[in-house]
C-alpha cells in the first residue's frame, strides 16, 4: 500500500492530489476490466431497526409478520387481538413503514383494518403521540407496539380522529360499546359500513 502522506492528529489531511493521480491511472486500467455489480448497502437506520426487531418483547396479544421476507425489516405488519376492553375478540392489523433515517424519525403506522375507534380514523390514521409530536430516537418499535395496544384497552375521547366515535364514547359509553360490537361483527354504524373482524 502506498503512503503518499499522512493525515494529521488535528483532523486535517495533507495533499491528496498525488493519490488522485494514482487513482486516475488505476481507473483507466479498471475501465478495461469487467464492471462490478452494484452492491446493496445497509443504512444506519436499518441496522438500528435490526436491533429493535431482535429485542422485541411482544405482549401475548400481538404477532408480527414480514410480508416481504426476512431481509425487508423496514416494512412489516403487527396484528393485535385485544384480550380485554371494548375491542375484546377483534383482530386488528397495522402496517409499519420504517424510514431510512430511523430512529431520527418515527415509523409510519397505519391501521389496515377499518374500525370504529375515537383515535383511529376510517382511513387508518392513528392518533398516538409517540408516532408524531412526542417521538424520540430513544423510543423503539416495542414502545410503539405497546402504545397501539394501549389504544385498545384505553380508547380516549380527548384526542379524536373519529369525532363521532369520540363523542359517543364521552357521552354514552354503553352505546359506544354497542357500536364497537356492531362494527366488529360486520355492519353499519350510522352511514359507515365496517367489515367483520372477529
Amino acid at each position: 500500500m502506498l503512503k503518499m502522506s499522512q493525515y494529521l492528529n488535528d483532523g486535517t489531511v495533507g495533499i491528496m492530489i498525488k493519490l488522485f493521480k494514482v487513482k486516475e491511472k488505476q481507473r483507466e486500467i479498471a475501465e478495461n476490466a469487467n464492471g462490478k455489480a452494484p452492491v446493496k448497502k445497509q443504512s444506519a437506520g436499518e441496522l438500528r431497526l435490526h436491533k429493535d426487531i431482535c429485542e422485541l418483547n411482544l405482549p401475548k396479544t400481538t404477532t408480527i409478520n414480514f410480508p416481504n421476507g426476512k431481509d425487508d425489516l423496514m416494512n412489516f405488519e403487527v396484528t393485535i387481538r385485544p384480550d380485554e376492553g371494548y375491542y375484546l375478540g377483534g383482530t386488528f392489523v397495522f402496517t409499519f413503514h420504517v424510514p431510512t433515517i430511523y430512529p431520527h424519525e418515527a415509523p409510519k403506522v397505519k391501521c389496515k383494518t377499518k374500525l370504529y375507534h375515537p383515535n383511529i380514523d376510517l382511513e387508518g390514521n392513528v392518533c398516538l403521540n409517540i408516532l408524531r409530536e412526542d417521538w424520540k430516537p430513544v423510543l423503539n418499535i416495542n414502545t410503539v407496539i405497546y402504545g397501539l395496544h394501549h389504544l385498545f384497552t384505553q380508547p380516549n375521547h380527548e384526542d379524536p380522529l373519529n369525532s363521532d366515535a369520540a363523542a359517543v364514547l364521552r357521552d354514552n359509553p354503553k352505546m359506544f360499546e354497542a357500536n364497537v360490537r356492531r362494527a366488529m361483527a360486520g355492519g353499519y354504524v350510522g352511514q359507515t359500513y365496517f367489515s367483520r373482524c372477529v
Binding site: 502506498l2 495533507g14 495533499i15 462490478k36 448497502k41 443504512s43 441496522l47 431482535c54 431481509d71
Partner: protein
Amino acid sequence: MADTATNGRWRDLDKLLLRPGNLVGPNFEPSPELRDDLQTYARVLVVGAGGLGCELLKDLALSGFRNLEVIDMDRIEVSNLNRQFLFRLQDVGKPKAEVAAQRVMERVSGVNIVPHFCRIEDKDLEFYSDFNIIALGLDSIEARSYINAVACSFLEYDSDDNPMEETMKPMVDGGTEGFKGHARVILPGVTPCFECTIWLFPPQVKFPLCTLAETPRTAAHCIEYAHLIKWGEVHVGKSFDEDDPEHMQWVYSEAVKRAELFGILGVTYSFTQGVVKNIIPAIASTNALISAACALEALKIATGCSKTMSNYLTYNGLEGLHTKVTEFVRDKDCLVCGPGVLIELDTSTTLQKFIDLLGEHPKVRMPKASVAHRGENLYMQAPPILEEMTRSNLQVSLYNLMGKLARDVVHVTGAAAVNGKTASSLRKLRIVFRGATNDGVADMDTAGGA
C-alpha cells in the same frame, strides 16, 4: 499553456499554489505542476443542482477544477429562478443537472461537466468510487445520510485500526436554511461522518393528527390536514407524491378551504410546498457564502495549499453576522465510519461457530448474536418467525453466506457484557478470512483502493 491570458486567468489560484506559507497542509510543495494536476486528475461529484449545487458548480469551475459531474433528479420550477442563477425562464421543466452543467461549461472555458438526471440511489457504488471528492448541496437528511454511507463504505482500516488514506473518500457538505447555513469537511475515519453527528439536525416538527383533524390553529395545520388526512380520504389507495405539481395543487386548494372554514390566514402555494416538503425558504446570499466555503475546502483537500477546516462551520446572518468553526469529534463506535472489531476466521467456520465465538471474544462478548451482512439477515435470534426463516443458515459457512468475499463488514446485535454489566448492543465487525483472496467478486471495501 503559459501564455499571458492563461497566466492572468489563474493569477489568484496561482497565489495559493505557487507560494509556500505557514498555513499550508503537510507535504505541500508549491509548483505550477499542482495546477495542472488539479485540472487533469481531480474528479469532483456535485450532489444536487439546486441553490447550493448551482453555486458549487460555478465556484469549483472557477477554482481550477475541470472534471466535474453533477447529479440531481429534479426539474426546474419557476420558483427556483430567484436564486438558482444558472436557470432562465425558458428552462422551466428541464432537468436541473443538464441545464446547470451546460451553463457553466458555456461560461467557464475548459471545464467539462457531466450531468446525471436521476436519483442518487440509481447509481451503483462504482459510480461513486470514481470521484476523488464529493461535494454535497442537498436539503434532505435522507440524501445526506445515503451519500455518507456510500462514501464511508469505501473506507478501509489497517490491522492497527488506522484509516487508510488511499481508501478515504472526502466529502464537503453544505446546507442552508434561510439566513443560516453550515459547511463541513468529512474525511471518513478522521473527522466525524454525517451519522456520528446526526443529532445536529433537529427533528422535523410533527403536529398531532388529532389537532389537525379537530382543532387547527395555524396555516400549517390546515396544510398538513389536507396532506396527511384529506388526501387519503379522497384518493383511496393512491399515495401522495410531493414532487407531482398536481398533487401539490390539490393539497393547496384543500388547505385553502380548510383555512376559510376555521378563519385562518396565511395559506399560500409556496407555503404549502414548504410545509409538505419541510423546506425553509432559501436565500441566495447564504447559498453563495456556504458554497464558497465548501469549494475552498475542496481545493484545500486536493492541493494541500492550506490545512482543511476542522471541521464544521456554522454561519448565521439573521441578526448581524455570526460564524464559528466547531471541531466535532468522531463517534469511535460509529456503525458507518468506525473501524469495528477485526475478526479473523477460517473459510470453513460455520455461522453457528461464529456466533459461539462472539460470546467468547474479549472485545465483543455477545453470546446470542443476530448477524446481518449488507442488508441480508443471516441469523435472527428473535422474533420466532425470523428465527425460523434464518435457522438453516447456522450450519452454512460464513464465508459462503457472505458471498465468498475475502474480507467484509458484518453487523451483530444482542445482549453483550460491557464493563461487567449486560447491555443490548449493536456492533460492527470487520471479518477477514484466512487464506481467501478476492477473485473479482463485488467488494465495496476494496473498490478504488490500491
